[in-house]
């Protein structure tokens, strides 16, 4: 499997962390940021995602956008696994402040407190936030 991907990109691999801080709808940041995640995966980079602040709403289950005429793109987060993007983190404080728990989320995540998250960020080569 790994060899198959090596044919596509032979350059260096860096640790990319995408920090998602905004609600999925209301602004376009979440949707467009997901595009960069997919491209980074296509470049075989070591990709992680963090959801914090209102960004935790991006991966809440049972999203329904019928009433606002905006595409519900939440299924794309489920597809990330197929791009070998499996490191998803959620900030504990953000989740709790919004009355949410891991059971409310549509993908498996690791919940980290803000201190652990800052260590995760420090360990990255590239941090892209929106």
């Amino acid at each position: 499997m790994a060899e198959e991907f090596d044919d596509e990109f032979d350059g260096p691999v860096k640790r990319f962390l995408f920090v998602n801080r905004k609600a999925p709808y209301g602004t376009v940041y979440a949707l467009e940021s997901l595009e960069v995640v997919l491209i980074s995966a296509a470049f075989d980079q070591d990709v992680s995602l963090v959801f914090m602040d209102d960004g935790v709403f991006q991966i809440v289950k049972d999203q329904n956008t019928d009433g606002i005429n905006i595409k519900n793109f939440s299924r794309t987060y489920r597809a990330l696994e197929g791009y070998d993007v499996e490191k998803l983190y959620v900030e504990k404080e953000s989740l709790e402040a919004r009355g949410l728990s891991e059971d409310d989320l549509l993908v498996p995540v690791e919940v980290l407190d803000s201190k652990a998250l800052s260590e995760l960020m420090n360990a990255q080569d590239v941090v892209i936030s929106a």
């Binding site: 350059g11 260096p12 860096k14 990319f16 376009v28 940041y29 467009e32 595009e35 960069v36 491209i39 980074s40 296509a42 470049f43 980079q45 080569d125 590239v126 941090v127 892209i128 936030s129 929106a130």
Partner: protein
């Protein structure tokens, strides 16, 4: 040091583009290298030649074009974000080029630091 720059906001509404311009100018003055400036989200609105602010205000688009002209700074506008917002080759100001998101990822790979300017 080699810097990659990501601009996520349009001109005037946010200060992000001004800050990015000032950062790039200062970095070049100190002898650093700018591998690429990538414009994403509403940042693509920095690239239109039809921007025409009042004459007593700074002209952000022209300042970017001048950086490209004087220092060869590569100004790349995301094609998908641009198409959403009515930006194409016909409206591009001098020095800007439309390309894909791969250029952003490549900037992240090739630069020592990728600096994000946004909301």
């Amino acid at each position: 040091m080699k810097f990659g720059i990501l601009v996520n906001e349009g001109p005037f509404t946010h200060q992000a583009s001004d800050s990015a311009l000032q950062f790039v100018t200062a970095a070049l003055k100190k002898g650093h290298e700018i591998v690429r400036v990538f414009f994403y989200h509403d940042g693509v609105n920095n690239s239109t030649k039809f921007s025409d602010p009042p004459s007593d205000d700074r002209n952000i688009v022209k300042l970017w074009s001048a950086l490209a002209e004087e220092h060869g700074v590569e100004l790349i506008v995301c094609v998908a974000a641009a198409m959403r917002r009515g930006i194409n080759d016909e409206v591009l100001a001098p020095g800007f080029q439309i390309s894909g998101l791969g250029q952003l990822v490549e900037a992240g790979i090739n630069a020592d630091r990728l600096v994000v300017f946004g909301d």
